[in-house]
Symmetry: C2
Subunit: 292 residues, 2 copies
DNA sequence: ACATTTCCCTGACTTAAGTCAGAGAATACG
DNA sequence: CGTATTCTCTGACTTAAGTCAGGGAAATGT
């Protein structure tokens, strides 16, 4: 742990504190204290229930209550009892509230755009920001089951194919590979998982089943800025759990010699190499694992 | 300006806000409001004069005054009239104040170390942080004249030699090159400039003189995370200004074909290519510029 | 030498943020 | 069915932060 590293991190902190402060200041321009603005934005982002607002914003119950009242008086928010449990309350934006929320979103987007505009090399900066955000938000990476045709899934798959094209000596053309049907990677036959870090897709894995007790793992991918966090392992564990849940007892997968990290992961996590089980042109390694 | 880029920046903002907040919270652990802690730390970092404290922290004069009083009552700070101008006052830490300041520094360092410890690939993360901090703090990069043997200068020169070693087809060995005497790059014969971003050296340039009206530009370097910001140009302008100040009328420099950005910069800023003027083994391009 | 300006200070405010105790309604539990 | 628990709300605080108007001492300009 060198002194130099600590100095660099502290310099980063200073630089970024100014940026965060500037965003807060721009939020004050709407003539509302920051606390109320934060509540309004949290509701706009889909956090309706009062309890979840409290947890998310870390506010005292009394304080949040008052902030909600002030937003109600402004006509931006209405609160209604929760349909299932009338002790709880759910806040929702009115039409005026939605407009105000949109104004805050526009402020945030403007600041982001300004930052990008004064940045030297747009893409390097974005990549660096992704890496930092992922490292800082490591414990907040959520793995979710989704439709393999969802926006998040397509984001990952596009990046995955592009990476295969770069890494395989032969290049890669999806059309030549056996692209699974979406229905094979959805319940009840299979599943598709994406890893989301604060909403940004950073990894995926597919479980492709045919209805029997045999299934295949496909499309395991982790985005470069999220590598080294053990995310691939987590994705595989979740995929195996989903397989068990579907009554699957044997898993298979194919891979390529160029994908060294993946091969290493499979060998370390109980997969055994078997003979070729398909005629797909790209893979040259084949694995199997029996689920207990 | 893609939507995706804005989403990524906003995700970065969220991730980093949590980090900044955590640092603030840890500062509260010393039983002192954040405002007072900020003042104490600013004094500890060498900002003694009340006026400069006010500017740096962006505080109202009355508020700062009160914060200073509270630190005085705690016995952490003493304020004395400014020796040159008795209207102004200068704050300084007492022995107890120095200890308290050291405790805050330790908290900051701990947080930085923790962040680094939970990071996956230490060096990638640090590089990404440098890039972000430099891009955000772009307008705060200061160019200072320094001893070519100072810590900051050596930091730059070491990185410069390493980079030459990587980029030149022949490799690079300082011993074979004509390494200037330190005295040739200091007043009154020459000068050495470093660019500091929040204290971190991010670039340098040397002006090597022999006492006459001819001098050479040497060791122009900008660290990778600060490229694309026009820093090399600024360094060259400052070096030329220093040369004029020293009464120098003709500047020369040598460079290598592999250093394309540098060659481009020279050609665009009024340098003309001339014949080889030394027998150094590394350069293959030679330039001259007359100062008006 | 005198008026003006600069600098920091004090006192009297306002606003935001946060804490805590307890009330009232609804649900869960035995 | 009655009691305990959960959930949100209100009222009565405290603390931090910030604003504004002046005042006194020192320096500056004429």
């Amino acid at each position: 742990m060198s002194i130099d590293a600590i100095r660099r991190i502290r310099r980063f902190n200073r630089a970024v504190t100014a940026e965060v402060g500037a965003l807060d200041t721009s939020f004050l321009g709407r003539g509302r204290p920051l606390g109320a603005a934060r509540v309004l934005n949290a509701i706009g982002h889909g956090r309706g229930e009062v309890g979840s607002l409290r947890d998310y914003l870390g506010l005292d119950s009394g304080l949040l209550s008052r902030l909600l009242r002030s937003l109600e008086e402004e006509g931006l928010v209405v609160t209604l009892p929760h349909p299932q449990d009338a002790r709880r309350r759910v806040a929702a934006l009115t039409e005026a509230g939605r407009q105000e929320f949109a104004a805050y979103e526009a402020l945030s987007n403007d600041r982001a755009a300004q930052l990008l505009a004064r940045a030297p090399k747009g893409d390097d900066l974005l990549r660096a920001m992704d890496l930092v955000a992922t490292a800082l938000g490591r414990e907040r990476i959520a793995i979710e089951e989704t439709d393999p045709r969802s926006e998040a899934a397509l984001h990952c798959l596009t990046a995955y194919y592009a990476e295969l094209g770069r890494r395989l000596a032969t290049g890669f053309d999806v059309a030549l590979s056996r692209d699974p049907e979406a229905a094979d990677m959805m319940r009840p036959r299979g599943a598709f998982l994406v890893a989301l870090s604060d909403g940004l897709p950073v990894g995926c894995v597919g479980l492709k089943g045919k209805g029997g007790d045999l299934a295949e793992i496909k499309r395991l991918w982790v985005c470069p800025s999220a590598r080294g966090l053990g995310l691939a392992r987590r994705l595989m564990e979740e995929a195996e759990a989903a397989a068990r849940d579907l009554g699957i007892t044997t898993l298979r997968l194919d891979s390529n010699n160029a994908l060294t990290e993946a091969l290493q992961l499979y060998r370390r996590t109980g997969w055994v190499e078997i003979d070729r089980f398909n005629d797909d042109p790209y893979p040259d390694h084949f694995f199997e694992k029996h689920l207990p």
